[in-house]
């Protein structure tokens, strides 16, 4: 009887801890318009932005056309690899959107991995993934609009046959929703599983799971997000 109650209290304790970990705290509130709360994800994104920008400035210094150093070769391989990957995916029509895709890939990758540094991943906040998805769908539709003009853009909703136009319009909402929820759900799920494992067995066991859930899954989700965005843009500009 006593042990049962103890177990119940442990479970409740666990749930409480998890909930605490999962909530996105408000770091501070801007005291205008009756107080604007700034969430943790926004602050962590600022940190990521600052870090990435500083890193870029440091890495990009002293680039040479001839006889590049080892650092430059690695940098070129990374950026050039990403560039050619998206370029192959998206085709010549969508070349102007490649920098955005590279930026998002880097951002989501870093955001998913920043949990390793003890910060809360911004992608665990629905606000962040929703923002990513909204910008992506706006870009996708803009790409179609830019390529085909207003008439072609409106016409593209009635393709391949007019009867599926409602489905095409629904896609406008389904695409970002699926992008948003996939990323959010994966990161949140991985985070919950990792927290459970850490609470149950704090030593050694989390290492292989962390390899998978924190690193592999995080990078895969970044890849999937930008891959799908690139596919949608290609579809839009075709």
């Amino acid at each position: 009887m006593l042990s049962l109650r103890k177990e119940v209290s442990i479970t409740e304790d666990l749930a409480e801890k998890l909930l605490e970990e999962l909530t996105c705290e408000t770091v501070f509130t801007i005291p205008i318009f009756g107080g604007i709360p700034i969430a943790e994800s926004v602050v962590v994104t600022w940190i990521i932005m600052a870090a990435l920008t500083l890193l870029s400035i440091c890495l990009v210094r002293n680039l040479k056309v001839e006889n590049p150093g080892r650092k430059q070769q690695v940098l070129e391989m990374a950026v050039g690899g990403l560039y050619s990957f998206f370029d192959d995916l998206i085709g010549e029509e969508g070349r102007r959107y490649v920098p955005y895709l590279i930026s998002v890939a880097i951002y989501i990758g870093v955001a998913n991995l920043i949990g390793l540094l003890g910060l809360k991943p911004p992608t665990k906040d629905l606000n962040t993934t929703a923002a990513l998805a909204i910008i992506s769908i706006v870009l996708i539709e803009y790409a179609g609009f830019h390529r085909k003009g207003l008439k072609g853009f409106i016409k593209s909703f009635a393709e391949p046959v007019a009867i599926i136009a409602p489905i095409n319009i629904l896609e406008l909402f389904i695409k970002p929703l699926s992008l948003c929820m996939r990323l959010f759900g994966n990161v949140l799920g991985a985070f919950v599983v990792m927290e459970l494992i850490k609470l149950l067995v704090p030593a050694f066991l989390p290492i292989p799971f962390s390899m998978y859930f924190d690193i592999f899954d995080g990078l895969i989700q970044a890849y999937v997000f930008v891959f799908l965005t690139a596919l949608f843009i290609k579809e839009a500009v075709e």
Binding site: C24, S56, I102
Partner: protein, 166 residues
Amino acid sequence: MLRLDMNLVFNMLNLIVLYLLLRHFLIQPVMGIMNKRQAMIENSISNARNSEGQAAEIKKQYEEKLAASSQEGSKIIEEAKNQAKVQYDRILSDAGEEAGRVITEAQRKVEADQEKALNEAKAQIAGLVIAAAAKVVNQEVSALSNKALYDSFIAEAGDSHDAGSN
């Protein structure tokens, strides 16, 4: 956990700013360098092609010149040979002529000498005859008339002798 509020807008702004930052500080410089290198490589390849073509052109010209000069050389040699032959012939004929002239002159000189010797011999013989005749006749006559007399005598005697021998 599942909250959507103003932070959505902040996150969107963050994303746009991050995109601009990364594009400006990372992607544009790196891709710019890579494109520049690409352009440089293409440039040097086309340069190499150009100079290769130029080299082939120069080689062709050189070979043409070489062929022309060897032709010219053989022409010059031919000409020189012809000239030499002409010269040789001329020298040879000159030498022949000279030799003929020398021989003719020598013959003439020999003939002249012979005649002179004959004349001298004639004169001496005439003197001897006069002396012999003076001794034979033993009388003094006018030297001049006698000499003429004996000359005609010798001439007649010679003529008859010549006629007799012929």
